[in-house]
Subunit: 236 residues, 2 copies
DNA sequence: AGTAAACGTTACATTTTTATGACACCCTAT
DNA sequence: ATAGGGTGTCATAAAAATGTAACGTTTACT
C-alpha cells in the first residue's frame, strides 16, 4: 500500500533531502514549507504520516501538532517530530503534544526510515509492508500475494483477490481479533469520506469469504451481529 | 552497465591511487581536484556515483554535497565521503547532507571497493553488474545481453531487447517478487520527474512481454491489478 | 411461533483498469 | 537526405472490479 508522508520543513535543502529519501523507499511525499502551507495541503489530501520540523518560521511546530490533534479528521495521523535541540523538555513537550516519536537533527537517512517504519508498524500496521501470517494465511504486501498454508506445511495454494478484497483482508489481518464497524472499514479501506453504502461492505466480505472458502479457510472472517466484522483465528 | 565514478580529491597522489583501484575493478573514472572542477565535469557527464573528499581547497566537501543534492539532475547520485577525521560529528553532518556512506582515511583499496559495491547494491541494484538468473532468463548487464535457458540447459536463445525494454527487465529482475507502481517504474527506469504518461509503462511492458513470449517465457512479467507490475517466477 | 432488524447472496449495470495496435516523431548511421 | 529502429501517445477493445438493489435467511426478542 502506498503511504503518503507530509514533510513540514522550512529549509528547502533538508526538505528535498528528506523527500528524496522517502521516495527512494517507495513513499509518496507532500511538502510544506510552513505550518499554514501544511494546513492547506491537508485540506485536500490527508497524509498517512506527518514529519514535522520543530522550528518553523511562523507557527512553532508544537502549535501545529496541537492543531492536528484537535481536529477530528487529523487527530489520528501518526506524527514524527524533527528537532535540533536535544533538550529533554522539548522531547517531553513534543510527546505531550501528540508526537509518536521524534528525531534529533542531524540524523541519517537510514535512521529516519527506520523510525518511520517503526511508527507505521505501531500505528498503521496495514501500511507497514510486513508479511502477515495468521490462521493459515500468509499475506505479503510487498509482492502483493496471499497464500493459504493448509493446516500444516505441505501445499501453499495461491489465493487470487481483487484489489478491494486484498485491502480488506490486509486490514482485517493487521487488526486481527478486533471488531470493525462497516463505517470504520469504509473510512480506512475505501478512504476518507467516500459516499458508499454500508451494505457494500457486506458484499465485499462475501466475496472475500467465498474465495477463502474455496481454499478451505472458513470462519476466519466473522460476523459480529449488531456491530460489524472481525478477523479471528478462534472459530467463533 | 558501465558504472562511472567521479573522484573529487585535491591530493594528486591519492587521486591517482583511487582511480587506479577503481579502474582495476572495471569502473570508469572521472577526476576532479576541486569542487568547482567537479561541477564543471558533472555538467558534461553525469556520474553514477561520487567519491568526495571532505577537505577540499575551495569549497568544503559538505557544501559540495549539498549542492549536488539541491539540483534535480544530480540529487539522486549516490555519494560516498572520504574523511580524515574520526570525528563523529563530521560523520553525522555528512550523512545529513545526503551521503550514503563515508570512509575514514587511511583506508585500504579493498575497503573502498567493498563500500562502493555495497552502496551500488543498495542504491542501484540494477547497476551492480551482477548477472541475474531467474525464471529461465539470464541477464548479463556487462555484455548487455539476455538469454533464455529454455527449461533446462541446452539451447540458450538470445533475446534482443530495445534499450528501454532491457532496463525495464533488468530492474524488474533486480527487484523480483515485488510489485511496482507505474510511477515507481517511471521514476527509477526513466528517471526522476520525467513528464511521461503512466500508460506508457503499459506499452513497454507489452513490448517486453511480446519478446519474452516469442521465446516461450510467459507469465514472468505479471500484472497486479490496481497496483502495477511484478516479475515473479511463480506462475500467478 | 411471530416479527422486525440484521445479515447473506445473487445478479447486473457501470465504471475502472489493462491490453493492444496504430501512428507520428526523433534520433542515428548510412 | 533517408531508412530504420526506438519511443511516447492515443484510440479502442477487452477484462476485471465495483456498487446497488432486490430478495432470501438468520437472529433476537416478544
Amino acid at each position: 500500500m502506498t503511504v503518503t508522508i507530509l514533510v513540514v520543513e522550512d529549509e528547502p535543502a533538508i526538505q528535498e533531502l528528506i523527500a528524496l529519501n522517502l521516495k527512494r523507499e517507495g513513499y509518496m511525499t507532500l511538502s510544506a514549507l510552513s505550518a499554514d502551507n501544511a494546513m492547506q495541503l491537508i485540506n485536500n489530501v490527508l497524509p498517512d504520516l506527518v514529519l514535522l520540523d520543530w522550528m518553523l518560521p511562523d507557527t512553532p511546530g508544537i502549535e501545529f501538532a496541537r492543531r492536528l490533534r484537535r481536529e477530528e479528521r487529523t487527530k489520528a495521523i501518526p506524527l514524527i517530530m524533527l528537532t535540533a535541540r536535544i533538550d529533554e523538555n522539548d522531547k517531553i513537550a513534543g510527546l505531550e503534544a501528540g508526537a509518536d516519536d521524534y528525531i534529533t537533527k542531524p540524523f541519517s537517512p537510514r535512521e529516519l526510515i527506520a523510525r518511520i517504519k517503526a511508527v507505521l508498524r505501531r500505528r498503521l500496521p496495514e501500511m507497514s509492508d510486513e508479511v502477515l501470517e495468521l490462521g493459515g494465511l500468509r499475506l505479503d504486501p510487498v509482492s502483493h500475494r496471499v497464500h493459504a498454508c493448509n493446516d500444516g506445511f505441505s501445499d501453499l495454494a495461491e489465493i487470487n483477490l481483487g484489489p478491494t478484497e486484498f485491502r480488506l483482508l490486509h486490514f482485517l489481518m493487521a487488526y486481527k481479533e478486533r471488531v470493525h464497524t462497516r463505517e470504520q472499514l469504509l473510512d480506512r479501506i475505501w478512504g476518507d469520506h467516500v459516499f458508499i453504502e454500508d451494505r457494500t461492505v457486506d458484499v465485499h466480505i462475501r466475496r472475500l469469504r467465498k474465495i477463502l472458502e474455496s481454499v478451505g479457510k472458513e470462519n476466519l472472517v466473522q460476523t459480529v451481529r449488531g456491530t460489524g466484522y472481525r478477523f479471528s483465528v478462534t472459530p467463533n
